[in-house]
């Protein structure tokens, strides 16, 4: 259960980034989590929501994009999603494939809104 620490790192990064936007507040933070990253998205969401309660970031939304494990075939260069741990190439059946993604634990974006505009309106655009 390290999602609390991960949620804390996300909030730290949001606060750091917001120093560049003193006239705005953050609406939504997007993160990418690979299915091989050993992070449970729902546990992360639970921790995130618990941590922002009654803080200045209480209205901050967390958007999680779960990224599948992708491999590239070393023979025919085909990129494909690995399902049921079958990492052989679906195009040429080669077993010589290499992992190219699926281990992400990254920020994707931050949505910010200037003070004085509607937060509800800001969210509805996404």
């Amino acid at each position: 259960m390290h999602e609390m620490g991960i949620a804390n790192s996300v909030l730290d990064a949001v606060r750091t980034e917001m120093r560049r936007y003193p006239e705005s507040y953050p609406c939504k933070v997007g993160v990418r989590i690979g299915e091989m990253a050993a992070i449970d998205p729902e546990a992360l969401r639970f921790c995130f929501e618990a941590m922002i309660q009654e803080t200045d970031l209480a209205s901050l939304e967390l958007a999680i994009e779960v990224c599948p494990r992708r491999h590239r075939c070393l023979v025919c260069e085909h990129d494909f999603i690995v399902q049921d741990y079958d990492s052989s190439c679906p195009q040429c059946t080669s077993l010589a494939t290499t992992c190219i993604s699926g281990d992400e634990l990254e920020f994707a974006y931050l949505e910010v809104e200037q003070y004085g505009t509607s937060a509800v309106g800001a969210k509805s655009t996404q």
């Binding site: 990253a37 050993a38 741990y85 634990l105």
Partner: protein, 225 residues
């Protein structure tokens, strides 16, 4: 509203310290291995056997992590190599900052091999880079042979699987070939050694793997310098 790209890792601070540690390990020619398993799979026993086998003059040290107690460090200190306990006080994994802090009063130039025994946990340690050259995952035969499928991340990220407690194979319904097959499903080509720390069976293969990694690391260090 404005959407700004935020292209960086969530654990960028941990990764920054881990990269610094990795640089220092390379500079001083230290091979660092991060040992990970469930609680009770035999990481400490494997280290006891290993330290017992290594020559007394070998430049080896151990950092051992647990939530509480100095018990593991006490067990490992008997072999007269430098050993330090990291008690996390509740945290379920080690992070790079803990390693940095506990290495502060050790001279890396006096070491060739550093073992880090992570907190017993197959999930969280997988997310935290400690600057190691390789992760080693230990799975005992009293666990399920489907563990690599249930906890794929750590098997995917580890260079070596140590199947431990193989002296118990006659008494437990553990299909060792299925376990190896499951590990290689998650991590094609994964190296596997089978050991019993009780009988010493398989220790030779583990020590050979270690020796081979030490030699490979040495030539890497020589190339880098």
């Amino acid at each position: 509203m404005e959407r700004v790209p935020l292209e960086r890792k969530v654990l960028s601070e941990n990764d920054r310290i881990a990269a610094e540690l990795r640089g220092r390990f390379l500079e001083h020619g230290v091979l660092c291995l991060n040992l990970i398993s469930s609680p009770g799979s035999g990481k400490t026993s494997l280290l006891e056997r290993t330290l017992e086998t290594l020559p007394r003059h070998d430049r080896v040290a151990v950092l051992t992590g647990d939530i509480q107690t100095e018990n593991d460090a006490d067990r490992l200190k008997r072999f007269h190599f430098p050993v330090k306990q990291i008690t996390t006080g509740g945290t379920c994994h080690l992070d790079a900052r803990m390693i940095e802090r506990h290495l502060a009063d050790w001279k890396l130039e006096d070491l060739d091999l550093l073992f880090i025994e992570n907190v017993g946990n197959l999930v969280c340690p997988s997310s935290y880079d400690l600057g190691e050259a390789a992760k080693v995952v230990v799975l005992s035969v009293t666990e399920g042979e489907d563990k690599p499928l249930k906890y794929p991340s750590i098997f995917f990220k580890s260079d070596l699987l140590v199947l431990s407690k193989i002296d118990l194979l006659p008494y437990v319904p553990f299909d060792i070939e299925a376990a190896a097959e499951n590990a290689r499903k998650v991590h094609p080509g994964m190296e596997i050694v089978k050991v019993s720390c009780l009988t010493g069976n398989g220790m030779h293969e583990w020590m050979m793997w270690l020796e081979q990694r030490r030699r490979a690391h040495k030539s890497l260090v020589e190339t880098a310098s």
